[in-house]
Symmetry: D2
Subunit: 228 residues, 4 copies
C-alpha cells in the first residue's frame, strides 16, 4: 500500500482498486490536459458537464452533513459544500464565460448519461447506506483530482492551455481541503469500524463503492473525449 | 441475556436496555388492557394515534426496503409493509368504525407530540444511518408488542374488553412475522458487523437507538393514558 | 393527445414527449422480441440487467410509499412493490435459471452504466422532489412496458421465442396493475396541482423528468443490443 | 395580512397561523428573556437543548441543498448551514462554556422529546415532500426568532442578563440572513406554485406544515420552562 497525503483510508482503497485507478488518473483526457493536445471542444464539453457534476457533488456533500455522526464530520462536509459552490465552480463559470457560455446555460445543460450515472450513484450511496458508504463513493473524485493536480503541476507542458485547470487542483486551497477531508475520513472510519477496519464485514462493500466510482470517473473522461 | 424467540440481536438489545424495557412492556396502560381497567376513552385516543403511528411505521419499513442490502432483507421488509397496511391497521379501522370514527378521520388525525417524536425519530434514523440504524429504531415496537401480546394472551382477565387488541398481537400471523423479522435482523447484523457484533465500534450507538425508541414507547403509553 | 387506458396524466406526458416515446416503444430491441430475431445472448444480457433494474425499481416504489400523501397512494405503491418483488422478477429468475444463471448471481450482477444511470436517476428524483417528481420518472417504464406488451401480444410472430416475456406484460395482472397505477397517478396530480395541472409552474419540470426517463429507456435497450 | 421584512410567503403563513404565532413569539419564556425574570437554570436547560436543535437544523438546511431546484436556492441554503454551524452555535458554545458545559457535552446531550419531535418533523418534511414542504417546516424558527430578536432589542429591560441572546437574533448578520432567506423563499414559491400560490391545491398542506412547526416551537419553550 502506497502511503497518501490524503490519509490511510484512501490509500487502502486506492491500492485495492487495481488498474482502474491508473486508468482514471492517467486517462488520455488527463494526458491531453498535461501536454496541451486535448481539443478545446472536448475540454469545453467536459467543463459544461463537470459544472453540472459539481452541482450534484455539492448536493452529495450536503447529504453527508445530513448523515454525519460528529460535529467534526459536519463541519468538514459543510466546508466542502461551501468550497464547491463558491470556489471550484468559479473556474468553470469563468472559463465558460470566456467561451460565451453563461452560468444559467451551464446550470440547465442536458446531462450526459455518464454524468447522470456517476452523480446519482453517489447520491443513492448516501440514501442507501450510511456516511461511510457515501464517503467511499465521493472519495475517487476528491482525491483523484488532487493527485492529478499535483502530478500535472510538476510535469505539464509549459505551454499547455490548460494551466488554469491544473492550478485549480494543485493549489494549496484544494490540496489543503483534501488533506482535511482525508483526515476526517480516517476518523470517520475508526468511529464506525474500529482500529482494524479492513477486517470489517462491510469493508468489501465499501471497496466496491470506491471501485465503481473510479470506473465512473473513467467513463466521465471518455464522455469528455467523445464530445469533441 | 434472556433468549428470545425473536432472535439474538433483539435479546441483546433488550438485555442491555435495562429497566426501560420493563417500563414499556409492563406499563400501566398495558396492565389496563390486561385487567380491563383501561378507560375506553384512553383506548380510543390511543387507537387513533396508533393508526397514524402505523402509517408512519409503514413508511419506515418502506424506507428499509430502500436501504436493504440483500434480497432477503428486501422481501422481509416489503412483506412487513404489506402486513401493516393490509392487516394490522384493519384492527384499528374496525374498532374505530364501531366507535363512529371512519378511516379518513383516522388518517387525518392531529398527531400528538409523542407520536411525532417517535415516528419521525425512526424515519430519521433511516435517513441518517444505514439499515441497522433503522432496524434498531424499529425493533422495540415490533418485538415489544409481540411480547406484550404473548403475555397478555396468557394472563388477561377473561372479561377484559380488549381481547381483540390482545389477539392482534398474540396471533400466529403477527408472531410468525416477528420471528421472520428477528431472524432477518440477525442475518443483517452478521452481514454488516460480523460474528461478534457487540465488539463493533457501532454497537453502542445501535443500542442507544434501541434505548431511545423504547423510551419513546413509554412516552406513547403515557400519551394514551393522558388522553382519557 | 391520444387517450390512454393508463389515464390522463400519462397520456399528456406521452403526447408531449415527442419522438422519444416511439424510439423507446418501437426500439430495434423490441422489434427483435416481436419477430423473434433478437439474439438470445442479447436477451439474456438484458434480462440479467433488468433483474437488477427491478431491484432498484422496487426500492423506488418503496420510496414512493415514504413520499405518499394519502392512504390510496400508499396502498397502490406498496402493492406495486409486492408485485415487483414477488411476481415480475419471477419471470427473470425462471428464465435465467433455465439458462444456468441463479438468483444470487442475478442479484450480484455488475450493473451496466446505462442501468446505473436510469435507476439512480429515478431514486434521486424521489430524494430531490416530491411524490410527483418520482412518479414522472417511474411512469415511462410502467406504462411503456404495458403498451409494448399489448402491442406485441397482438402482432408478435407466432414462433417468437420471447412469448413468455410478452405474456408477462400483456397479461391481465400487469395490465390491471398499471391501470390502477395510472388512476392513482391522476388523483395524485389533482391532489397536488389541481384540475388544470398543465398550467402549473411545475408541469414543464415534471415533463422533463418523464422525457429523461424515456431517453434512459432507449439507452437501456441500446445496452441490451450491445451486450450481444 | 401584515407585511413582513421577511417576504410575502412568510407574511401569508404567519397571518393564517392564528393565535399560535402569538403563543410562540410572546411565550412566557420569551417574556422572561425580555424582562430578565427567566431562571438561569431554565435558560441553560434550553440552551443545551437548543444546541442539539441547531445540529439537526443544520442537517435540515443541508437537506434543503439536496432538494434545491436552482443555484440561488442552493447558495442560500448552503450559506445558512455555514451560518448555523460557524456562527449561531458559537453563542451557545460560549455561554455554556462560561457555565462549565463544554461543546462535546452539548453535542452528546440527551434530547428532550419536544426537541426530537420538532427536529425530526422538519427532517421528515424534507424526505416526504419537496423543497417547499421543507421550507414551510423551517420557516417558523427562522423568522420567529428574527421577530423576537427585533422586538426584544427594542423593549428588553436594560439589565436583563439575556442581552447576548437577544443580540444574536437582532444583529444585522442574523436579520440580513433571514431577509435573504425570505426573498429566496418567495422566489422558490413562485418557481413551483406560480404567481397565485395561495390558490394552489398544495397551499393548505404547506400552511399545515407551518402551523405544526409553530406549535412545536411553543412546546419547545414549554420544555425550556419545565427544565428549571
Amino acid at each position: 500500500m502506497t502511503a497518501s497525503v490524503y490519509g490511510h483510508t484512501f490509500a487502502r482503497w486506492r491500492a485495492a482498486c487495481g488498474g482502474a485507478w491508473q486508468d482514471y488518473t492517467h486517462h488520455a483526457f488527463v494526458e491531453g490536459l498535461r501536454d496541451g493536445s486535448l481539443p478545446r471542444a472536448s475540454f469545453l464539453h467536459y467543463l459544461v458537464q463537470d459544472y453540472v457534476f459539481l452541482v450534484h457533488f455539492a448536493r452529495a456533500w450536503s447529504l453527508a452533513v445530513v448523515k454525519a455522526d460528529t460535529l467534526d464530520e459536519m463541519k468538514v462536509c459543510a466546508g466542502t459544500v461551501d468550497a464547491l459552490v463558491n470556489h471550484e465552480m468559479a473556474l468553470h463559470v469563468q472559463t465558460c464565460a470566456a467561451a460565451g457560455i453563461d452560468e444559467a446555460t451551464l446550470f440547465a445543460a442536458t446531462e450526459a448519461f455518464e454524468n447522470i450515472a456517476y452523480t446519482r450513484y453517489v447520491m443513492d450511496a448516501g440514501l442507501h447506506g450510511d456516511f461511510l458508504d457515501l464517503m467511499a463513493a465521493l472519495a475517487p473524485c476528491c482525491f483523484g483530482y488532487g493527485e492529478i493536480g499535483t502530478r500535472l503541476a510538476a510535469t505539464a507542458a509549459p505551454d499547455t492551455p490548460y494551466r488554469d485547470w491544473i492550478n485549480t487542483y494543485c493549489d494549496d486551497g484544494y490540496q489543503g481541503a483534501m488533506v482535511t477531508v482525508g483526515q476526517m475520513l480516517d476518523r470517520a472510519v475508526t468511529h464506525r469500524l474500529g482500529d482494524a477496519p479492513t477486517t470489517s464485514a462491510r469493508w468489501p462493500r465499501l471497496q466496491a463503492r470506491f471501485d465503481m466510482a473510479t470506473r465512473l470517473e473513467v467513463a466521465f473522461w471518455e464522455m469528455g473525449l467523445r464530445g469533441a
